[in-house]
Subunit: 357 residues, 2 copies
């Protein structure tokens, strides 16, 4: 099994015959997906009518096929925008500018204001559902002091790597979701990150601009609780398509979630809808349903806020178990799938096409 | 029923016969407790041997008894410290310096790093248990963007008042716990507080220094999730006796709580112990116990951290209901009482006597 990094390293040696610079340095590699024997890349050309097209593709394939364990290479061709072509001819595509290689179609934030209602669970399930529907998906864990995402997707020991471009490469999950989180950079997952707001904001900006996300249909951003630095930075610096709000049945949670909704509206971010987590528990022995955190008010709340109600998730001991084992991708998607589909129809493409942000 | 504010206002008119300034302005009023017909105050004298003692006490009693509904006034006399006497003779006791009137014996922070594990619930139950054991108790809600404390103690509409000293007066709960929270200052409880870190820190410092807490045996500080600004400010600016950590059975929560423990240790704050919340659910129909968030690891975790394990709290739909109704004081204390008693024996008096901080 080859890694994204190995693929990028191999492509580092492939030159554009005209410009005589590496495809990687020129920002032509837009997406790398390294699977079991199969590698998929997306290659951005100045024009799809480029006469050197076939030669470039053949060179790239040959370089990747030379890697151990690769049996097949699929190359998807895309065309650079006028702006990108301009930047290329200005010679601005310098190594280290990872963001230049990114093309992200939708950025969806998951927030709640309140802690512990299941933002990270919803972020993860959304990513898994989108991935299983065939989308290219990344997860940016914007919770710097309490990052939960890596534990849900990985057994211990997953780490972020740095590409030859000096860009951060997302860790790849079993089903091919790219994940970036501060916890993938720490020596130990228990290590505290004791930072005041400005550093938190800067870390989030780096996770956006210095990460080689590549080509993504959806980037899911998992926000921490609160309406302070992390949320503000995400809302101000990232071109969000919209936000999904997560609540739990308690009035107490509802109150704090309404604060988050107010913030989202003040920042002119569209709210895609509301999901209620920990709605109820169905006793496995009797089949009886218990409203452990009180009766649900989520539909009322969504109506009051004038936003779509996307659905409920029950308390399920299996989820807790799979999350703790890094196996959230094994959780059955039946309940969540319709919510993810609804989010796909609601999330308009990013407010502006996001090339090289 | 008279309010603390009315009592302070009445005492505003009582002069120290020697200094010819109001007892309130001189910082001699250290505690006010306004009950049903009974008012208790603590009066700080420069010396308990003060020859004018009886006259001052009689004047104060008369002023308070003149208020509608007051049948009895109890006055407790305390002696100022040498430092306080010095400050008084230097004329530093200016109106507006609320902190000068405060005498707080123990400051206990409740934290977890993780959101939604029940920090505010533990803070509230701790305050209620301490109060029911006869202690004078306050709760400082240091969660500025997601404040939960007021909803647990009050029906809608509770507000903070300002004393004639221009100090903030805590809202008093039914059993006489003083509560300060940003939500008691907002027009509506749903209003978002969209502040970056420095403002959050300043708000917490004000809740400490500009509030007329009076004389308290215990001030419980409810921290927000995370190890950023709010936690840092509380640990750096408040003279904590120690911190109580709250976790839930999920490994995921445990990981983030260990981050909080690490921060606490780095900041040299004693950890008083660990409480596990949402440990299990006992099905009311079958009596069977379900570990909804996985099996408990709390005792192991406490042992690893080298801190006392204080106990577990189950998931109880009644708690959610009482919290949402502002009636946490009605919740039976059986389960929590031993934990509170343990905390009392573990919390050494504040690291330095906290007069007029």
């Amino acid at each position: 099994m080859v890694t994204t990094e190995q693929v990028v390293q191999a492509l580092q040696g492939v030159m554009d015959p005209e410009l005589n610079r590496s495809l990687v340095e020129l920002g032509m590699i837009r997406h790398v997906e390294a699977g079991d024997g199969l590698v998929k890349i997306a290659l951005a050309l100045t024009s799809l009518a480029c006469p050197l097209k076939d030669r470039i593709v053949a060179d790239a394939k040959r370089a990747i096929l030379a890697l151990d364990g690769v049996r097949q290479v699929d190359v998807e061709l895309v065309e650079m925008s006028a702006e990108e072509r301009q930047r290329l001819s200005d010679g601005q595509a310098e190594p280290g500018q990872a963001a230049h290689l990114n093309e992200i179609h939708h950025v969806v934030a998951v927030m709640s204001g309140k802690g512990g209602v299941g933002k990270s669970l919803v972020s993860s399930l959304l990513a898994v559902a989108l991935r299983s529907a065939g989308h290219r998906v990344g997860v940016l864990d914007a919770d710097i002091t309490g990052p939960s995402i890596p534990k849900m997707f990985f057994a211990a020991g997953a780490r972020l790597n740095t590409s030859p471009l000096r860009a951060i490469l997302p860790a790849q999950t079993r089903t091919g979701i790219g994940v970036v989180s501060i916890n993938l950079l720490l020596e130990s997952e228990d290590q505290a990150v004791i930072w005041r707001g400005p550093l938190i904001g800067r870390a989030i900006q780096q996770f956006w601009g210095d990460v080689l996300w590549g080509m993504l249909d959806y980037l899911v951003v998992d926000l921490p609780p609160g309406t302070s630095d992390a949320s503000l930075t995400v809302m101000q610096s990232l071109p969000l398509s919209g936000a999904v709000l997560v609540t739990s049945p308690q009035d107490l949670a509802g109150m704090v979630v309404r604060k988050a909704a107010q913030m989202t509206q003040l920042m002119a971010i569209p709210i895609l809808g509301l999901i209620e987590n920990m709605s109820y528990f169905v006793c496995p022995d009797t089949g009886k349903r218990y409203d452990l955190f009180g009766p649900s008010h989520a539909e009322e709340m969504a109506a009051q806020l004038g936003i779509p109600f996307l659905g409920r998730l029950p308390i399920d001991p299996e989820i807790a178990q799979l999350c703790d084992a890094g196996r959230i991708e094994d959780y059955p998607l039946e309940a969540f799938k319709p919510m993810a589909e609804r989010i796909v129809t609601l999330a308009s493409p990013a407010r502006q096409p996001i090339f090289g942000v």
